[in-house]
Subunit: 332 residues, 2 copies
């Protein structure tokens, strides 16, 4: 377990500064205090404080999402949530959930029986057992990338897909691309629908044609590229926008295997900016989801729901990260 | 200026309980502490604490919106913001703004020169001088009912119009109405566009026809009713949904003057649930915007922006308030 000294070493400050930060002393800056608290959580110092008995509890329920290693999608989301919750003296438990797990207890029963005041749900699918119960839950609940209508106890959080897709299309258009294909994520997910709408609207706004062959669903796995890239290429696409970075890595590989150079012949844009994005060849241009901010914001929203502020939807800004997988359209 | 005793009297608790609440003592409940703090702000106790020199400052900038009296639209919005800001020891200044005022200083300059760390803007119109500057502002800014694309320092907040309009249409449909007209607010505002889209989508979902004569803009004044109600009625509308409660009050008056009874002949639904809504004859069925929650949430979001959590959009849940201006469609 991390000590105050570990935190001091990581930040390069004195032990007494860390101590001031942890104890809310007023003679250090807000920014420094926040860095101390964030680092304390990241290094696991929070588990020490959480032994106090009167702490209130929140749950992060995770399905279909890796979060334990630094380079996994969920890591920063979980960390951000815990960092903000720690400041307000909440205990946070991260609970991996399976479909079977969801049949053992009703959602509300599970939370109440274990003393949780609210939960943040990541990676759930619309057909999950608990998702149907969330339409009427009385427990404050923040849902990543899913929308529930009409229940004031539930809020959706996610990156603003509309703005992200628009940024990507505008970036490609600026580079001269007019034939832009979109290998989206899973069908029948709220996020995929938002992104498809945004793709169609952005193309229309720029007066670009969307051929039927330009739109497909890749189910968030790299392998899906090989089923769809050939169709995109033969339909004349010069750029391929992808539903996530994994799909993009598959698209780059598939393009290369078919003798197309990236970005000289084909530009490729990802979504997410996971840690592998800059390590691809070429390094991937992508739309960043700020996952630490998503986690921090999810806590803020959950805390608001607990205080009866009925927020239905919160969207975070995406960011265009320009690397080398996109380039000016060639004269070819 | 309010004293601790005033707060104790209002809440019916002892002076020492109020003192504990104000000083963050741990032996009273969270709920009671929050009630003490909320009441302190409402009664003006905050101005006493704000004399301390090290307090940081936020601004609420208001245009085209009354907020000083209890029954005015902006009152609860401003109060909610101040209540939440007070807990985190921010000073809040409410500044009424005119078009001329906006030409005297750039937006950022005004905030910086006066030492504000961020601002909450209410009632601004898209054509306002400062609105164009907000596309590139570096100051954390929360905008009520307006959207700015692409600037991570700016977030839009408002009631979820889509859900609100859908609730209203579903309510009328359940009462048997199929011919539903919509007298929306001003043209060319983001909120009006959202609501019009939601009206069209809700009608389509239920398989209801939208005649051309069913859609008009009322500019948020009661008088606009007389220009549009005759057209709605002659086109066969049996229900009229309105962009706000003021428009609805005009619609009720106009219907009555033309010999139509509300709700026996025509059902009328408002939007907002301002204090006059239950006093109309008949009392108005309306879609409530929880204005205190909007204000509280606006503070939470502004505080997040200040901490570099780039939220783009936050929507609050509307609520259907059923009163007597809507009824089953008559057999007539």
């Amino acid at each position: 377990m991390a000590t105050i000294k570990d935190i001091a070493n990581r930040l390069g400050v004195s032990v007494s500064t860390v101590s001031k930060g942890l104890n809310g002393a007023s003679d250090i800056s807000n920014e420094l205090r926040q860095m101390v608290l964030d680092t304390a959580v990241e290094l696991g110092y929070s588990t020490k404080r959480s032994k106090k008995e009167d702490r209130r509890k929140l749950a992060i329920l995770i399905e279909n999402m890796d979060y334990e290693a630094l380079d996994e999608f969920g890591y920063d989301i979980v960390l951000g949530f815990r960092q903000n919750a720690f400041r307000h003296k909440w205990d946070v438990t991260v609970i991996p959930v399976t479909p079977t797990f969801q049949t053992q207890d009703k959602y509300d029963t599970f939370l109440l029986r274990n003393g949780y005041c609210g939960a943040f749900l990541c990676g759930f699918a619309l057909h999950d057992e608990w998702m149907s119960q969330i339409a009427t839950t009385t427990m404050p609940t923040v849902l990543l990338d899913n929308v529930i209508d009409g229940n004031p106890n539930v809020c959706c959080i996610g990156t603003d897909s509309q703005e992200g897709i628009q940024m990507a299309i505008n970036h490609l258009y600026t580079l001269g691309h007019k034939n832009i294909a979109f290998l989206n994520g899973s069908l029948h997910s709220w996020v995929s629908e938002q992104r498809q709408d945004a793709y169609l609207a952005s193309m229309k706004r720029l007066g670009l044609e969307v051929k039927e062959e330009y739109l497909a669903n890749g189910y968030y796995v790299a392998d899906s590229a090989k089923y769809h890239v050939p169709g995109f290429l033969s339909a004349g696409a010069t750029a391929i926008l992808c539903g996530n970075d994994l799909i993009a890595s598959g698209v780059i590989k598939e393009c290369k295997q078919r003798g197309f150079r990236v970005p000289e012949d084909i530009s490729v844009v990802g979504f997410d900016d996971i840690p592998i994005a800059p390590t691809l060849e070429p390094p991937l241009t992508t739309i960043r989801q700020n996952r630490n901010a998503i986690g921090k914001c999810a806590y803020v929203i959950l805390n608001s729901l607990i205080h009866h502020i009925a927020i239905s939807k919160t969207m975070l800004r995406p960011e265009l990260i320009e690397r080398e997988s996109t380039g000016r359209i060639s004269a070819k």
